[in-house]
């Protein structure tokens, strides 16, 4: 059984008892425990079920590489699936549940998959479920999906109770990893004066060293770590962050730090996670190394654990995973576990060392304790029930015939170590195979390259393949100096601290235990625990031709689980290489992709949620609109009222009321969103002549002109009214949402093509609130305001004719009035300072009451313009329409040699007489044509599609005319006036419409010109 030891546990505070629950059971742990150590202390070895076969699984590691002990943590709006017990700090009230089983952890129906495992090998689903076809969707896939997946999904109706944030940080040198190598590297780098940031994923510093022992500068590693931290904390140029994982390295020195602020204290307030967006000149990866499992049959049985992790549980948390332990190894380090266990009073039944010659000093120390060491031996098989009960021992060079069976309740295994090269590799750092240690290590000649083309990542310590304490410290000091130098800070020579630990003899690669294990054993020998990939699966993949490492990975799912192959990749590669008769480096690795360890989506999204998910752009009249029935419509980032609904009124009714009232009385439109650009300079006229299809240079001061803009590719992109302000100044109106893009468009041409032209552009869109005062009584209300104010600008037809503008005062407000109309009614668009926009609107509403004033929204705006046959960018245009299609040839200046889009419009397809052209459409029965309907032609095309001859671009119910009106683009349309064409609806009906002139109302334009 696994229990708490009476002594040990350097990280726990035995005075602080903590209650938590696991699968509903109340348990106790101590402050400083991880969830995994606390569970072990409560004899809860089994912590989960595997992905595919639903095999019972115990914790196998002690850190972020853990593949098995995944938990559902918390409840309700703080629930989270798939959290590792090993990286979860215990807190009072923690609720954890194991996952991927039904009905319970102990009894799981889908464990039947385990019985069927002989059939469910790698790739079985590619070979099965092919016939009959419908069964895949309706039967097989649902079953497979249900048995797959890990934790349950969070409740979809609850919003995350936590918040998240980002933080930008700039450093000369970022050290990832706060073990002794990281701290040593930081010290060396910081001595140069460089600004250093150190990230440590755990809540404690020093990494493995305090567990592994030895001395540093004569102190225990623990003391050295404390001293060094004190030194670093005292330096102004050093920032230390714990609980902050370096999760990804990206181009040009960008790195992400994932800081877990309240995971260990939920609900304490403030953000849960903070994502550090770091820009570093140099990055040091002091990310340590991860121990590899040994591949023997039953290596996934609960109680089989990585040797160093078992040591961690004893030393860090005072927990032993078993009472009778077999240690299996191919290297010297595992002997430390034997010593630690022995010192803690745990029986070490055997040390099984696969090497014929065994190890060095550490082995002797173990033997001196009276522990039996077997050389050249292997584990043939671990028996379960469901946790480890017996271990069969055999010769490493055999086929697995057991020579001895010993009783044990835990196995500590060590297959050697792999440097954590993920962060080195994320951005293109290359690896080299170290034959002596049988691992990939960073190749310092091929680092990731920064913006200057030089390397920007330096690996240090065991992450760089220097496993020994002394070598790691020396390497780290050099890495720190190198990084500082590369960041522009000539290093001061700082002697590396001197690490002393027992000499170790070389490990011996052992990829399969025993070396000639038969197929039955290989089918029970796990490589990837979580995804249930076994030695036999990789061998099968190789045999079937999935020879590339990427093929093997994808065919078997090796390394694709939530640990991303941290434990399994090298072991799997070795099996693959062996199957192919190739060397491991020839086979290569799969690509390392961020993040190093999964990070929350919440953190990635940061603060952007709820009200600040995206900016909402608000006009000065926004609040009034909101309080007065605005049915909001998002238009780009703006929100505009679609209509102002009154209580008891439908949207449709509101629109009809607004339309009629504007035609008959007085309507107000908040048109503040329209773009306003000042274009000024000696060459401004020439420039606008290029920007617009029309001639703008000849516009008289005081006058307005409707203008069209095209892209260089010829397509209509924007429209609006241009006013000439003075000799060298024009004011250009753009569509809503066009302000920024058209401003950018103008600047682009000015800066990159005609940079010798003297033109300045300023975007003054938001300086003004712009209100359209529309309807037969528009002049009356404005004159009333002027009368009330005791004077103001002359708004008469004579003083301010149609398509002109004036500046002056209206109702006491400084204003600019444009006599322009997008409705066909008498209309003034009036711009006042944005800060006075609401006051001006209030004045209009107040003065307009006697004229039955009503605000109107975008839908009414649309209908009014459609009744007049005015086109709308985004409705009649869609990026494929040229002005010629819309009968706008009058706006294409014939006098100009050039304007943007002119050359493009001369291409053959643009001049094709078969292009669809703008017409009005009237349904034969007065109904409203469906939005986006297509007109049916004759026959089908070569691909069997029905031929189309046109489409509806705008369609509305016109309250003014009490019938449906529409505009559309129709092949040869203008020549087919009066013809009736068919529009099949998606509702099964076919609509018939007559081709008519697109101007439905006031064809002579008398109403706007009064």
């Amino acid at each position: 059984m696994s229990t708490r030891l009476a002594k040990q546990g350097r990280l726990i505070d035995r005075s602080k008892q903590i209650e938590f629950t696991f699968n509903g059971k109340r348990m106790q742990g101590y402050g400083g425990d991880s969830l995994a150590s606390a569970l072990l202390a409560n004899d809860q070895m089994m912590m989960g079920r595997s992905f595919k076969y639903h095999r019972p699984r115990g914790v196998v590691a002690s850190g972020s590489e853990e593949p098995n002990a995944l938990m559902q943590l918390g409840t309700g709006d703080r629930y989270e699936p798939n959290q590792r017990a090993t990286t979860t700090e215990l807190f009072s009230g923690l609720t954890a549940a194991s996952q991927n089983h039904w009905p319970s952890l102990e009894f799981d129906v889908l464990a039947i998959n385990n019985k069927l495992s002989r059939f469910l090998t790698a790739g079985f689903y590619y070979k099965m479920f092919i016939h009959p076809r419908p069964l895949w969707k309706h039967v097989y896939e649902p079953i497979i999906r249900k048995s797959a997946g890990l934790g349950a999904a969070p409740d979809s109706e609850l919003k995350d109770a936590d918040t998240y944030e980002h933080f930008y940080f700039f450093a000369d040198v970022v050290v990832i990893g706060g073990g002794v190598a990281g701290l040593q590297a930081a010290k060396a780098a910081a001595a140069s004066g460089a600004k250093v940031l150190v990230l440590e994923q755990n809540n404690h510093w020093g990494g493995r060293a305090p567990v592994d022992g030895g001395t540093i500068d004569g102190d225990t590693p623990e003391v050295w770590v404390e001293k060094t931290l004190t030194e670093l904390r005292a330096m102004d140029n050093v920032t230390l962050r714990d609980r902050c994982m370096g999760s990804g390295v990206y181009d040009h020195g960008y790195a992400l730090g994932y800081e877990r602020l309240t995971d260990h204290a939920p609900g304490q307030g403030g953000p849960r996670h903070r994502l550090w967006r770091i820009r570093a000149k140099q990055i040091i990866t002091a990310t340590g190394a991860i121990e590899r499992p040994l591949s023997f049959a039953g290596n996934d049985v609960p109680g089989v654990m990585l040797a160093a992790s078992m040591r961690d549980y004893v030393v860090n948390w005072g927990v032993t995973p078993g009472q009778k332990v077999v240690v299996a190894t191919n290297n010297d380090d595992a002997y430390r576990t034997a010593l630690t266990l022995h010192d803690a009073g745990v029986e070490v039944v055997r040390v099984v060392d696969a090497r014929d010659t065994g190890g060095g000093a550490l082995m002797e120390m173990v033997r001196d304790k009276g522990i039996r060491v077997e050389l050249g031996r292997a584990i043939a098989k671990v028996k379960d029930g469901p946790r480890v009960t017996k271990v069969a021992i055999c010769a490493q060079n055999g086929e697995g015939g057991a020579q001895e069976e010993v009783e044990a309740d835990a196995v500590a295994m060590s297959g050697g170590w792999s440097p954590v090269v993920h962060l080195w590799s994320h951005c293109g750092g290359k690896l080299t195979w170290d034959k002596d240690h049988a691992f990939f290590r960073p190749d310092p000649t091929r680092p990731p390259l920064g913006d200057n083309g030089a390397g920007f990542v330096v690996a240090a310590g065991s992450a760089n393949g220097n496993l020994g304490l002394g070598a790691a410290l020396e390497d780290a000091a050099a890495a720190g100096a190198q990084a500082a130098e590369a960041a522009g800070f000539p290093a001061k020579s700082v002697a590396a601290s001197k690490g002393v630990a027992e000499d170790e003899t070389l490990m011996q690669p052992v990829w399969l235990m025993p070396a000639k294990a038969d197929i039955k054993l290989r089918m029970k020998t796990w490589l990837d625990y979580q995804n249930d990939v076994k030695v036999s699966d990789v061998q099968l993949a190789a045999r079937e031709g999935y020879e590339s490492v990427e093929h093997t990975k994808r065919y078997t799912t090796l390394g694709m689980a939530t640990d991303q192959g941290k434990l399994s990749n090298i072991n799997g590669l070795a099996i693959l290489a062996d199957s192919l008769g190739a060397e491991i480096p020839q086979v290569g690795t799969t690509t390392f992709r961020p993040p190093y360890h999964p990070i929350s989506m919440g953190a990635i999204g940061g603060e952007a949620r709820g009200e600040i998910f995206q900016p909402v752009r608000k006009t000065p009249i926004y609040d009034w609109n909101d309080a007065n029935g605005a049915d909001w419509e998002p238009v780009g980032q703006w929100r505009r009222p679609f209509a102002y609904t009154r209580s008891g009124e439908s949207r449709h009714d509101a629109v009809n009321r607004e339309v009629k009232n504007t035609r008959e009385n007085l309507g107000l439109l908040d048109a503040s969103t329209l773009g306003k650009l000042i274009v000024k300079g000696p060459d401004a006229g020439k420039f606008l002549d290029m920007m617009y299809t029309n001639m703008m240079s000849t516009l008289k001061i005081g006058k307005c002109r409707y203008g069209l803009m095209c892209s260089e590719n010829g397509f209509l992109s924007d429209d609006g009214v241009v006013a000439r302000i003075d000799e060298d100044t024009w004011l250009c109106h753009t569509t809503t949402g066009g302000a920024e893009s058209i401003h950018g468009h103008m600047e682009e041409w000015l800066q990159t093509e005609w940079w010798d032209w003297k033109v300045y552009v300023a975007n003054v869109t938001e300086q003004y609130a712009q209100i359209a005062v529309v309807g037969p009584k528009a002049r009356k209300v404005l004159e009333k305001l002027n009368a009330q104010a005791g004077g103001g600008m002359d708004l008469s037809k004579e003083a301010l004719p149609f398509m002109e503008w004036r500046e002056g005062q209206i109702g006491g407000f400084d204003a600019r009035a444009f006599r322009i109309s997008f409705s066909g009614e008498l209309s003034y668009e009036i711009a006042v300072a944005a800060s006075e926009g609401q006051a001006f609107w209030d004045a209009l509403m107040e003065a307009g009451r006697e004229f039955n004033v009503m605000p109107y929204g975008t839908e009414t705006l649309h209908i009014l313009r459609a009744e007049k046959g005015f086109i709308m960018i985004g409705d009649e245009t869609d990026g494929t329409v040229i002005p010629q299609d819309l009968g706008l040839n009058w706006a294409l200046s014939k006098k100009k040699e050039d304007y943007l889009g002119k050359r493009a419009q001369q291409r053959s397809h643009m001049a094709d007489p078969d292009r669809w052209q703008l017409v009005g459409l009237e349904t034969t029965d007065g109904s409203v044509l469906p939005d986006g309907a297509y007109a049916l032609g004759n026959g089908i095309n070569a691909n069997g599609q029905k031929n189309m001859i046109g489409r509806v671009t705008s369609t509305y119910y016109s309250a003014t005319l009490d019938r449906g009106i529409a505009m559309g683009l129709v092949k040869h349309g203008p020549k087919r006036m009066g013809e009736v064409i068919e529009f099949p609806g998606t509702d099964g009906k076919t609509y018939t419409a007559k081709i008519v002139d697109p101007v439905f109302y006031d064809k002579e334009g008398e109403k706007q010109n009064v």
Binding site: Y168, A608, P615, R617, P620, G681, E766, S835
Partner: protein
């Protein structure tokens, strides 16, 4: 004629720093040749400052001038004087190729005061806001979360942030969120 109001109308929030709507501020966009003498004279007349160097703002009593781009300044003047000063600038620069536009009402204007001010901005802007990198008088146009903004550091250690008026409410929400009382990063 009414009392003009800002987009966020005096809003204020206190956490690791205090975020507040500064109120109405006269602002003039001035484009032109920044090395020209008439322009320098006009700037001086309008604000009382010289033409600022790249990336900086010059602040004096009642006025300021900030470097926006190689051919653009942002001039700060009292709100009530903005219209008149724009006209004066235009007049003074007649004959020069220049453009002065009153943008006082097109902006939202915030201040961030208190110890956490640097950290508040550093959460939302990809700019090195450490004390060694960003000093009083530095003026930076950048991005704050999803909108463009400009900000500078005053001599008293407080920041001023300018953005478009339409996103004033968003900016206030953003700054307030970043200033959450339990969100101190603890590095500046």
């Amino acid at each position: 004629m009414s009392n003009p109001v800002t987009a966020t109308n005096g809003a204020q929030f206190s956490g690791i720093a205090t975020v507040a709507d500064v109120g109405l501020q006269g602002m003039i966009t001035l484009r032109g040749d920044l090395s020209s003498k008439p322009l320098a004279a006009a700037v001086k007349a309008a604000t009382g400052t010289e033409v600022p160097a790249q990336g900086t703002i010059l602040v004096v009593e009642g006025g300021a001038a900030a470097w926006m781009s190689p051919d653009e300044l942002l001039l700060l003047v009292p709100y009530e004087q903005a219209v008149a000063k724009t006209a004066e600038l235009t007049k003074a620069l007649k004959g020069e190729h220049a453009l002065a536009a009153n943008v006082s009402d097109a902006r939202s204007f915030f201040q961030i005061t208190g110890d956490g001010a640097r950290e508040v901005l550093a959460k939302i802007s990809p700019v090195d806001l450490s004390p060694e990198a960003f000093v009083a008088g530095d003026f930076r146009r950048s991005r704050t979360a999803q909108v463009a903004a400009a900000f500078w550091l005053q001599d008293d250690g407080s920041f001023r942030v300018v953005c478009f008026r339409s996103v004033g409410a968003y900016m206030f929400g953003l700054l307030s969120t970043a200033a959450h009382p339990q969100s101190a990063v603890g590095v500046y």
